[in-house]
């Protein structure tokens, strides 16, 4: 948490966010539903995350204390991402550059940034629980997109919607497999879970 990695991270974050800013690359990243959902939104969150991890050292004390176990922060992440994944909001972001700007700012600052701050406060059990819920729900949303007989977004064709569905399912499967392999083989985290376990107990 010393100065230099923080500076590099802030620069990286600002560079990424500048690149994504809704003018030049916007149409490239929003032309396709799958890319919009699986590339643009996560990249925005990633920019916010980098910014958050760079600012971590400057986090006000009251925030760190009020964000108990990271619960409020992670709830904010869930609300923000759910909101922008509503088919209606994907449409609205495409139709209106002003709404796209709001999306840009809010995904970076209400999803990526709190993720960087709150995730570390969540005990290991809570993190595992969030993963175990996030992965299958991602697949379920993909399945809903695949089976929907109607177009959910006015701006995307049915075949784009199906492609987005398959992509979501593929991402879910890949994440599940990665998670499983990591737990099965055991990365060098023989101490890590014990530590976070202890941290969790202390926090509780």
């Amino acid at each position: 948490m010393n100065g230099r990695p923080g500076t590099i991270r802030s620069l990286l974050a600002l560079g990424l966010l500048a690149l994504l800013w809704p003018s030049p690359l916007r149409h490239l990243l929003e032309r396709d539903m799958a890319v919009h959902m699986i590339v643009q939104l996560p990249l925005l969150a990633c920019g916010g995350f980098l910014l958050g991890s760079a600012l971590r050292a400057h986090e006000p004390r009251w925030l760190a204390e009020a964000d108990w176990l990271g619960l409020p922060g992670l709830l904010l992440v869930i609300f923000t991402t759910s909101f922008w994944m509503l088919p209606r909001m994907l449409d609205a972001a495409l139709a209106d550059p002003a709404i796209d700007g709001v999306k840009f700012l809010s995904v970076a600052s209400f999803a990526g940034l709190p993720l960087a701050l709150s995730w570390r406060r969540m005990p290991a059990l809570g993190r595992a629980f969030l993963w175990a819920n996030f992965i299958p729900k991602l697949g379920a949303i993909g399945g809903l997109y695949l089976a929907a007989p109607i177009r959910l977004c006015a701006y995307y064709r049915l075949d784009q919607q199906a492609a987005a569905g398959w992509t979501l399912i593929a991402v879910a499967v890949a994440l599940a497999m990665a998670w499983f392999v990591i737990a099965f083989v055991g990365v060098p985290m023989s101490q890590a879970p014990a530590q976070s376990c202890r941290a969790g107990n202390e926090a509780a």
Binding site: A128, P136, F180, A194
Partner: protein, 485 residues
């Protein structure tokens, strides 16, 4: 000094928590057995039950039994695995609380809302009730299951965390290296850890997929324009359902590994075959569910053929090492039978016998004529009532007063074993005569089976009532006591 006191208090709480699990399981088990008896009596035409209500009863019986099988299995697993790895009593209790909340919702959905779509909530049946139940009743059922799933997920993840903190990886905790001869058997994980690891792997995956399909069903209930591929949903539901109910026996079997050696004074040897069996069964339990879809012509043929072959093999590795291990452990050990040992022994036998009709039904040619008959309830009642429940009752006896040579406990034991056998035989015989399952009203020629089954069920309920009453009589002392060793 302070340390010891604290440790003692924590240990006491953990023990009380296990007893609370078993108390809830015991009460729900009895209530659900009464519902089962109601269905048999209705089919036997000894009592009058409206067909609509029959399906409510069937749904509640199924959900409740699967629930307490999971709950009591979790109690067995948690009780023994915490001897080896750190686990949280708080999380264990949270699961019980979630279970009770979910159970209230499910019972409300059934007995107030009239939900009767079967415990498997096959998509899109909950949304197509034919006016028998409202969308809200179906939602209460689905949300109830979801809350129970959240509790179980937390518990499993917490045990996984504990196991990882000691063994580093699930592979090591399962004994993969020992299974393939890459490490000496001696340093392998204890049986309780290997078994728990298998259960964690399959159940976390099963619950995750179950939660996904529950979400989809809920969305469909309120926004019908959002549909889902019904065959994919059926795959997910049976993956979840099969894994979850199958895992209950793999949790309960830990009681066999831990309880029998106490009375035979011989340790349960975990050898290479033992580890190999558990590794193999882990993989097969995850792939075997397709035998529930053998009648779905839209399924790809390879999946069904694989389902057939894996069905023949799936249960066998662990069953064989356990059955042989049990016989080897008991044979000439000078064991003086008590209720705990006798019940877990019956459990292994019930499990072994209960698998045989499943292997028959797992064969596509047989399945197409047998699957919708009472053969299948015959199979799973043998497996669960005389297998899983016997192990669970053995565990309750082990924790309370296992030792009586004579007395009421043994009367309960024989009523349960004898009545249970009669009850499952009635199902199996009726099934082989093609009596359909899930029919509320039976024709005259089926009645003899129904009546024999009813008598058996009544005897078994009486037996279990005695055994559970015995548990409650001893539960206060048990909370203070320590495990027999």
């Amino acid at each position: 000094m302070t340390m010891e006191v604290t440790a003692g208090r924590v240990a006491l709480n953990a023990r009380a928590a296990v007893l609370a699990y078993l108390a809830v399981s015991g009460i729900v088990l009895l209530l659900m057995m009464l519902l089962g008896l109601t269905m048999r009596l209705a089919q036997a035409q000894w009592i009058d039950v409206e067909p609509d209500f029959f399906y409510v009863v069937m749904t509640m019986h199924g959900a409740g039994m699967v629930g307490i099988a999971g709950l009591s299995g979790a109690a067995v697993m948690w009780h023994f695995v915490r001897r080896h790895v750190p686990v949280s009593t708080a999380v264990f209790l949270v699961n019980l609380v979630f279970f009770l909340i979910g159970a209230v919702l499910i019972l409300g959905a059934g007995f107030i809302g009239g939900f009767g779509a079967g415990w498997t909530f096959l998509f899109p049946l909950p949304a197509h009730s034919g006016e028998l139940w409202s969308a809200n009743a179906a939602a209460a059922y689905l949300v109830g299951l979801m809350i129970i799933g959240v509790g179980f997920l937390l518990l499993h993840l917490d045990i996984a965390r504990g196991i990882l903190s000691v063994y580093g990886g699930l592979g090591a905790a399962l004994g993969v290296k020992q299974a393939f001869g890459l490490a000496p058997e001696k340093g392998g994980p204890p049986p309780a850890v290997a078994a728990s690891t298998m259960v964690l792997i399959v159940n976390i995956l099963g619950i995750a997929l179950g939660a996904a399909v529950l979400v989809v069903s809920l969305v469909n209930l309120y926004v019908p324009s959002f549909t889902f591929n019904a065959l994919a949903a059926k795959n997910m539901i049976y993956f979840f359902g099969h894994v979850f109910i199958n895992a209950t026996i793999y949790m309960a079997v830990i009681a066999v590994y831990e309880i029998l050696p106490v009375y035979t004074h011989r340790p349960w040897k975990a050898n290479r075959a033992f580890y190999f069996a558990w590794v193999l069964s882990t993989a097969m339990v995850l792939t075997v569910y397709t035998h529930h879809l053998l009648m779905d012509f839209a399924m790809p043929a390879w999946a069904l053929v694989a389902g057939q072959i894996i069905s023949w093999l799936s249960g066998l590795p662990v069953l064989l090492v356990t059955a042989f291990g049990t016989l080897a452990n008991v044979y000439r050990s000078g064991l003086r039978w008590n209720l705990a040992a006798a019940l877990v022994f019956v459990g292994v036998a019930g499990w072994a016998i209960g698998v045989i009709p499943a292997i028959a039904d797992g064969t596509i040619a047989v399945n197409s004529v047998m699957h919708n008959t009472q053969w299948v309830p015959g199979h799973f009642h043998t497996y669960l009532l005389l297998g899983m429940v016997a192990m669970m009752l053995g565990f309750t006896a082990y924790l309370t007063r296992p030792q009586p040579r004579y007395g009421l406990g043994w009367i309960g034991f024989w009523l349960y074993v004898g009545g249970g056998t009669l009850f499952v035989l009635a199902f199996l015989l009726a099934g082989s005569e093609s009596v359909p399952r899930r029919y509320a009203v039976h024709v005259a020629s089926w009645l003899p089976y129904d009546r024999v089954g009813s008598v058996g069920a009544a005897l078994a309920v009486t037996g279990v009532l005695i055994l559970i009453a015995r548990f409650f009589a001893g539960v206060r002392t048990a909370a203070q006591a320590e495990d027999p060793a």
